[in-house]
């Protein structure tokens, strides 16, 4: 599932995928895949992304369960 929360936070912060990738120290493709929901990042990488975008884990990666 596409991670639109992360994408919109990145755009709101004024970062391109390339800039965010460089700041975290990963490849641009990894950022694309996370945003497209095709890669599940480790907790460590999630925290790095959150720090760069000034968001919490809940803001970017928590998904409400529709069954609850």
């Amino acid at each position: 599932m596409t991670n639109l929360k992360m994408k919109s936070s990145r755009v709101a912060k004024g970062y391109s995928q390339e800039t965010l990738a460089k700041r975290i120290g990963v490849s641009r493709q990894t950022i694309i895949l996370i945003e497209q929901g095709q890669y599940n990042p480790s907790l460590n990488l999630c925290l790095l992304i959150c720090h760069q975008l000034d968001k919490t884990l809940n803001d970017l990666f928590w998904e409400e369960n529709s069954n609850e």
């Binding site: 596409t2 639109l4 929360k5 994408k7 919109s8 936070s9 755009v11 709101a12 995928q17 390339e18 990738a21 120290g25 990963v26 490849s27 641009r28 493709q29 990894t30 694309i32 895949l33 095709q38 890669y39 990042p41 480790s42 460590n44 990488l45 968001k55 803001d59």
Partner: protein, 460 residues
């Protein structure tokens, strides 16, 4: 860069390649065993033994690491990654070292009729090919460390890597010269050095091709995400240059070859033999280039599907027509190379009537090929002109050049005016090649602007 995703994917790729190495080394040893008649020794299959032993150890180590953890976790993945990281480089070094040992100790550059460098070339070619295929499947590039650098930095890094590969070749050659000077090895210095450099150049060519291909792919993917989609990938242009250059060499050499058959009395037997060998080599290379043509068609189809997603059905039909053309060309080439000479050999035993239907069939196929060679650019002309691309009329010029190159030779009597015929072949081939380059350069530099950003949710 310390990308956890790339590290995890690299472990998977290296594991698969290690398994592939083990299988190929085993097959090569078994093949040599069959050919030689005894189990090959180190000077006959040194590189295979080196690769087999180290790949096998890596796989066993992987199993041991896997069993030492009760439940798979990130620590286990890290251990496996480190294991393959070391063994991958080690196996390549061992393969090169044992190959070098093999060639400096071998009395002969042929092992039961097979070139001594056959295995090492196969080893590197298959490693390149499968590394690339597995990497693309896992969503990473072969040059993942340098692919995101600026163009200038990327070119610099690629050339540094090429220099490193060539340095290995130069060092190996120097070692051979030194050993030869010390009378340590049988005297076959030149042949050994030629073998080393041939292997090096094949690897460098493959690496250069992959690097340009990947860079184009990465740049176009980035542009596409920013809404600027290239009409047809620049890789189509790369393949056009390669195929066009080959066609140019093939046509010009063939005209010389047929001229030599006419004037065979003026040439020595050796010259005729050399020309005949080159002619055969070029025909075999033509089979390889048929696969490049298929790759070209696939790239054109995928690019147009991305830039014009609404035309999927028409694009499938155009690609099918192109593939049919390549297929018929392949069949005709196969017939002319293998079947036709066999039929002529048997003509003395059988009546010519028996092969009449086959000859008629070949004539029909040749006509269809000529018609398709005009139809494919014509279809592309209609497709692009309907979408108002300024380069569309250039496809008509291409058809015009094809007609001239087919019709004019009919009016030139090759036997009487061989010089005029040769001049025509040179001019028309160079003109056609240059024009094709200009055409595809323009096509692959045309962009379409598509905004493909999904609706964004703004988080406060």
């Amino acid at each position: 860069m310390n990308d956890e995703r790339i590290d995890a994917k690299l472990s998977i790729i290296k594991k698969r390649i290690t398994i592939l190495w083990t299988i190929i080394a085993m097959l090569s040893i078994a093949f040599k065993w069959l050919l030689i008649g005894h189990f090959p020794n180190f000077s006959e299959a040194g590189a295979e033994f080196g690769v087999f032993i180290f790949s096998f150890i890596a796989i066993i180590n992987h199993l041991i690491v896997g069993f030492s953890y009760e439940t798979p976790d990130e620590r286990m993945e890290k251990s496996i990654h480190n294991l393959y990281k070391s063994f991958f480089i080690l196996t390549i070094v061992i393969a090169l070292a044992s190959y070098l040992w093999q060639i400096v100790h071998s009395q002969n550059n042929l092992i039961t009729g097979l070139p001594i460098n056959l295995y090492i070339n196969l080893f590197f070619s298959l490693t390149f090919l499968f590394y690339y295929i597995y990497a693309r499947r896992q969503g990473i590039y072969f040059n993942y460390r340098i692919i995101e650098k600026t163009t200038k930095a990327f070119i610099k890094s690629v050339f540094l890597n090429i220099i490193s590969i060539l340095s290995v070749g130069v060092l190996s050659a120097l070692l051979v010269i030194s050993l030869d000077a010390l009378q340590y090895i049988p005297h076959q210095e030149i042949a050994t050095i030629v073998i080393i450099f041939l292997s090096c150049f094949i690897i460098v060519f493959e690496y250069l091709f992959l690097s340009i291909y990947e860079r184009n792919h990465a740049t176009e993917a980035l542009n596409h995400e920013n809404g600027k989609t290239v009409l047809i990938s620049r890789n189509a242009f790369l393949l056009t240059v390669m195929i066009g250059l080959f066609n140019l060499v093939f046509t010009v050499f063939n005209s010389h070859y047929y001229a030599s058959l006419i004037d065979y009395q003026d040439l020595s037997g050796l010259t005729i033999n050399v020309m005949h060998s080159i002619h055969l080599l070029l025909i075999y290379a033509n089979f390889d280039f048929s696969f490049l043509k298929i790759l070209f068609i696939i790239i054109v189809f995928l690019s147009l599907k991305r830039s014009h997603p609404e035309d999927k059905k028409i694009l499938k039909m155009i690609s099918f027509l192109q593939l049919f053309f390549v297929f018929l060309f392949f069949i005709q080439l196969f017939y002319m190379t293998f079947i036709h000479p066999l039929l002529f050999l048997r003509l003395s035993q059988q009546s010519t009537d028996a092969i009449q239907p086959l000859l008629q069939m070949v004539t029909i196929v040749s006509f269809v090929i000529v018609i398709l060679s005009f139809s494919v650019p014509l279809v592309l002309f209609f497709y692009f002109s309907k979408r108002k691309y300024s380069f569309a009329p250039l496809f008509l010029v291409q058809i015009g050049l094809s007609i001239i190159s087919i019709v004019v030779p009919v009016f030139i009597n090759r036997t009487l005016h061989i010089n005029l015929y040769m001049i025509f072949i040179y001019v028309s081939s160079i003109l056609y090649f240059s024009f094709t380059i200009i055409l595809w350069n323009r096509v692959t530099k045309t962009y379409r602007y598509i905004m493909n950003e999904p609706e964004l949710i703004i988080i406060k």
